[in-house]
Amino acid sequence: MDESPLVNELKAHLGAKAQWVRETSKDNIFALVRPQDVPDCVRILWNEMHGRWGVITGVDVVGGIELLYHFIFDKHHRVVTLKTTVEKPFPEIESVTPIVPAAEWTEREAMDLLGVKFRNHPRPERLLLSDDWPEGVHPLRKDYQPKDPNA
């Protein structure tokens, strides 16, 4: 598989902020960054490189929550994902909603379902879970134990 020229462009723009940048599978480029560098990297991809905003995926892994910031680069026919891990038991990271307004809901979703705190989020309210859902219970965590609704 020929590596896309976008990989080198990303390396040039992100510089030392990206620990590595790789095209790991067809049309998918991943870059590993530190949590504290995420707002800068998002700003680079959104403002400087004019990527199109996708969504944020949160993944519950051993020891932390991995946050994946997906951007789509239509002219290069690639999806670029910034990967970072925030540590449990109190996962938190700076919100990118001030940079990308479209991130507002997806950060609130990660708050509800995974318990990640987004510092300086303009509206850190419950989005998806019902009004009577207990605080501190995050269904997408791997240790979540559902109550049987049929019981």
Binding site: T24, S25, K26, D27, N28, F30, R52, W53, G54, V55, T57, V59, D60, L68, H70, I72, D74, K75, H77, R78, V79, T81, V100, P101, A102, E104, W105, T106, L113, R126, L127, L128, L129, S130, D131, P139, L140, Y144
Partner: protein
């Protein structure tokens, strides 16, 4: 300072089927603010899919939404195929394309009917849904079901979604028969002076706002944002057939209607080329194991780009499956296109984004900081919208 009233829109009303909760802040007759409260439709699909095998997951994914039900499983299997670096046989690519384009046709016609109802053109509603029925029949012939097709699997297409030459001929004939009614409906909408008055400059989403809200699909293309996953990230057989991406520059409801109508004509073209060019051969790559890895798969659903992320750890279950439906970003742009609009235009502005709430589980809510009086229901807003059209018709003739 003029009085702010809160008008809750929803949660139930007759033609927007999903439970929704819009709350609009209005000053006088103009919308000044709006917010969203979701969760009525949250069904926990992402968690559910973590307990399904890669083969079972497409059945769950297609129940994210009934109207985009071919797009979600396709995005999922494409992500898994990227992880496995799997070559899908060409015949399967064409079969996927045909079903997805038929879905686009029925979805846009569904939208046309609903939009017609919201502005009081019930004839458009009935005609659009009447001509939509043969497309659903066709989908039943092709896949066995009007909705929920269960046609894709990782590596290809399921055996009962294969098409005999007879079925291919039936599809071609149906598409030929549909061209006339679609042209008629398109002309009826584009040439109607009342619709020009009613829908132009209504619910405008500027190109800049479209980019900031990261909108996709016809909502974006109507604002001059030239993106289409079928062309920009070619999948299935879209790079093997001739078709055009439709854009408009106005960003208003009329522009969105034009984009959708012209896209139906393009979809008919794609399906007809598909049935003529489809090669023989296998329809399944025969993939047995999914290696560890992660990838994103995206597909142009009728409402825009459906974006899925899948992570595999090498066993038979997805470790994580993230679903971002197009309505997730499109509905969030309601605020940008609703602010400053009169109340009578709210429901058509909302409908123009073609929200598929079950994809998104989002319901726009305008939170009122002041009084929480219930003055109007969504049904009242629909009536206001229809009354505005009627008064335009009276003034036009008189």
């Amino acid at each position: 300072m003029s009085k702010r009233t809160m008008i809750p829109v929803g949660p139930y009303h007759p033609l927007q089927e999903e439970a929704e909760f819009f709350q609009l802040h209005v000053e006088g007759e103009t919308v000044v603010d709006m917010d969203v409260r979701l969760s009525y439709n949250h069904r926990g699909i992402e968690k559910l899919i973590e307990s399904k095998t890669f083969d079972q997951a497409p059945f769950a994914a297609e129940r994210v939404c009934g109207i985009c039900s071919a797009s979600h499983p396709l995005a999922f299997v494409q992500a898994v195929e990227s992880i496995s670096n799997c070559q899908v046989p060409e015949r399967a690519l064409y079969l996927r394309t045909i079903v997805n384009e038929l879905e686009r046709i029925h979805s846009h016609m569904l939208w046309l009917g609903l939009a017609g109802h919201f502005i009081g053109y019930n004839t458009v509603f009935m005609w659009a849904w009447r001509y939509r029925e043969p497309v659903l029949d066709l989908l039943e012939i092709v896949t066995g079901s009007r909705i929920n097709y269960a046609n894709v699997k990782v590596g290809g297409v399921r055996p009962d979604a294969d098409l005999t030459p007879k079925k291919l001929a039936i599809i071609d004939k149906y598409m030929d028969d549909l061209k006339g009614p679609v042209e008629m409906l398109t002309k009826a909408v584009l040439d109607d002076p009342i619709l020009h008055l009613r829908l132009k400059n209504v619910g405008v989403l500027t190109k800049e706002a479209a980019r900031k809200c990261a909108v996709v699909g016809p909502t974006a293309r109507a604002s001059g944002v030239d993106i289409d996953t079928r062309r920009d990230h070619p999948y299935a057989a879209y790079d093997r057939v001739e078709w055009k991406v439709i854009t408009q520059e106005t960003g208003d409801v009329f522009g969105k209607a034009v984009v959708r109508l012209l896209e139906v004509a393009e979809s008919i073209k794609i399906v007809r080329q598909g049935v003529r060019q489809i090669p023989g051969g296998p329809i399944d790559a025969g993939l047995k194991e999914i290696p560890p890895g992660e990838a994103c798969g995206h597909v142009e659903a009728p409402r825009g780009e459906t974006f899925h992320y899948v992570r595999s750890t090498g066993n038979n279950y997805p470790y994580r499956h993230k679903i971002r439906a197009p309505s997730y970003v499109n509905v969030a742009s309601f605020k940008a296109s609703c602010i400053g609009q009169p109340i009578a235009d709210v429901c058509i502005t909302l409908a123009a984004v073609d929200p598929c709430y079950s994809c998104t589980e989002r319901m726009a809510v305008v939170v009122d900081a002041g009084t929480k009086q219930k003055t109007l229901t969504f049904n009242d807003l629909v009536r206001l919208s229809q009354e505005k059209t009627r008064s335009m018709m009276r003034n036009f003739k008189g």
